[in-house]
Structures are given as C-alpha cells and as structure tokens.
Symmetry: C2
Subunit: 208 residues, 2 copies
DNA sequence: TAATACAGTGTACACGTGTACGCTTATTTA
DNA sequence: TAAATAAGCGTACACGTGTACACTGTATTA
C-alpha cells in the first residue's frame, strides 16, 4: 500500500504540468502548445500523455488552478507586509509588481485565457479573479468600515486597475518606466478609494 | 487609368478582410484562423491570398486598424449624444455597451491581441487604445478644467474600467445582468472622477 | 496591335498534429 | 507465487497546414 506506482504517476503528472508552464512565454500561449510538444518536454511519449489528462484542455484548467493558488499566495504575502505598517495601497501595488516580475508566464496565462476561446477556461479564470476580489472586498469592508456594496465596487475596480497595470508591466523592462507605472497605478487606486469613501460618507450623512 | 484591375483587387482584398472578421467569434480567435480557411471563405484559392497579404499577421494588423477606426466612430457617437445633454458618464457607458453588443467580435479581437503572442499585435492594439485614451483625456481636461497629468490618470483608469466591463459584457446575455453591470461601471467611473476632482482641488488649494 | 504585368488557379510537397491500437514491463493484488 | 493491473512506448494513420512553382487569362501599357 506504499504506492510506489501512484507516487511515480504523480511525479510524471507534475512533469507534464511543469513542462507546459516552462513552455509558456511572451511568444507562446497555452493554446498554441501541442500535446506532443508538452509530452516531449516532459520526456514522455506522446501517447503517454493520456494516462494523466484526457485533453490539453484538462491540463490547461489545472494550470489555471495553479495560477489561482499563486495568486492567493500573493495576497497572503501582501497582507503580511501590510501588517508591518505602511501605505496599504503602495505595498499592495509593489507586491503585485514583484509577483509579475517573477511569475510573468503564469500571469500571462490568466490574462490570455480570460478572453480566450474556451468557455471553461474563461469561467475558471474569472472564478480565480473573483476569489481574489472577494478577499480584497472583505478587507476593505472591515478596514475602512464600508458597506458591502461599496466595498465590492471598490475592490472590483481596484483589481481591474491592478491587473491592467500588471499587463502593461509585462511589456516593460526599463526599470524607471516600471517605477512610473507603479506610481500612476497607486494614484489611480487612490482616486477609487477616495470616491468610495466619499460615497460612503455621503450615504451616512443621509444625502444618498 | 480608371483602374478596373486595381478596383477588383481592392474588392477581393476587402473580401479577405471580411472573411476573417466573419470567422471571428467567442469560440474562434484570429490566431486560430488559418490562411486556407480565410481564403476559402473569401472564395479564393489559398495561394491567391499572397497577392494581397504576405502573411496572416499582415491581415491581422489590418483588422486591428479597422477595429481602431470603429472605436473612434464610437467616440464620435458618444460625443454627439453628450452634446444633447445628460450625464456624461452614463451616456458614455451606454454607448459603449451598445458598441459591444453590435461589434462583439471586433472588440474581442482587441481584447485578445492585447495580450497575445505577437509583439506587433500588442503594439498595434495598445496604440489604438492610447488614441482612445488621449481623446478622452483632452475632453476631461477642458470639460473639467483638470491638469494634464490628472486628466490622463483619470482617462486611463476610466478606459481600463470600461474595457474590463466590456469584456465581462461579452459573456452575459441576460438583459438584467447587463443593466446591473452598466450601473456598477457607472458608479466606479464616478469614484474615479471624484478622486481626480478631489486631487485637483486639493492641489489648487496648495495642499499638494 | 503586340508586349507586358499581374490577379487568380491547381498541383504538389514536407511537416506537425491528435489519437487508435497493440505491446512491454514492473507494481500490485489475490 | 501466479494473475491482474496499469504506466509508458512505438507504430501507423488520416488530416490540415503553409507555401513553392508553373500555369492561365485578362487588363494595362507601349
């Protein structure tokens, strides 16, 4: 019952996943990857692929799950930093930018499949982003004492802005430009925060 | 010099462009289109394609240009409506949503190629979006008397939010959900506008 | 009118694709 | 220990791809 076999199987499954991830790049999208290429990179015969996934799509959805996991790690990391003090918005953006820098291909995967041709992929990505947004929403709600609906609008807008900035960051290598992008993003997030706080206070004053 | 020949050539060129556009859908991205498919749809032999474009990429870039044109038409349409009075933000969002409804595939093209694998495509799309943003920036600057930098931040954030909403709209058919999406988007744009106006007034009061 | 340019055709090729099928080999089960 | 199970392999096939090449027929030019 030790499961030498199951263990080996899990290992080659990982090899397939890693092979796929390693082939992703600015020039290579998941949908352009072929089953044969991935199998080859993993050191497997093409037909062995089927022992682990029925489809490239199934592999792809697994990758999206991985990406969601990484995204949640990011959240945790940001929260740790925030707990140590400092501007919430600034630290969040900095953390996100670092994430992009070291996980560019995973982030690209999310960006691309979000508007891709597979409904299943789109749903999976939007689910991951929704989790991400909801966590932020919770945070805003209790940290800033906002109503649920306002907090959600702010969280949703903030995530949109940050993801868009991340997307732009992928096409920049100049350090100073990245710095500039971060600064602009921070300012935009402040706009949103201000607007949300403003609506909240007007609502509490009974004007809305 | 009438150019019967040149005229005919232009016509089949258009047929190729239209053929490509007509094959785009939620399930079909430009990059998944083959030269042969497009030629066939246009009623041409595969090899005749080369008389008009060196590449599928060249066709694709032409499509992006078309999309940019459509986008600018949208702008003009929105401005006309705004001139007739009403909430600027609301009218803009409504106009944009109508655009999505009748130009879904063109909008999808922009969304997809923005994060696609071709640097040329990404550059072309980001150029079109930049034009769009700059027009809005000009408008905000003179309508709201904002400084150039603040106006640009607002325009950029607004375009990001609206495009993201458009992307979400593509996966919704329920009428009431679309309405809800539009309402949320409008509120988010108001957040941004408020934040920008706020920074502007604080700056003018000499506090920043 | 004769020569030229050129849009469009059809054939042909090499290549990469997904996957069906039967086999081997080592672990697991009985 | 014998039988069953299952991961991984190799072969083979049909299919769609981009594009090279030689061609035809007609508008344009000289």
């Amino acid at each position: 019952m030790s499961g030498v076999r199951a263990q080996q199987k899990e290992k080659t499954r990982r090899q397939l996943i890693d092979a796929a991830l390693s082939q992703l790049s600015a020039q290579r999208s998941f949908s352009s990857l072929s089953l044969r290429e991935v199998a080859k990179e993993a050191g497997l015969a093409p037909t062995s692929f089927y022992r682990h996934f029925t489809d490239m799509d199934e592999l792809g959805l697994t990758l999206v799950d991985e990406a969601g996991l990484t995204l949640r790690q990011l959240m945790r990391q940001a929260r740790q930093r925030i707990a140590k003090g400092g501007s919430v918005i600034q630290i969040s953006v900095e953390t996100f930018m670092e994430f992009i820098e070291s996980n560019g291909n995973i982030f690209r995967l999310l960006l691309r499949e979000r508007s891709g041709t597979s409904a299943a992929f789109r749903a999976a990505v939007s689910r991951e982003i929704r989790y991400f947004t909801l966590e932020l929403c919770d945070y805003l709600q209790q940290a800033n004492k906002l109503d649920a609906d306002i907090a959600y609008l702010q969280a949703n807008a903030a995530v949109t802005i940050v993801f868009s900035a991340g997307s732009d960051a992928l096409d920049i290598d100049e350090k100073s430009e990245l710095k500039q992008l971060a600064t602009s993003t921070i300012q935009q997030l402040r706009f949103i925060a201000r607007g949300a706080a403003d609506l909240s206070s007007r609502r509490k004053a009974g004007k809305v």
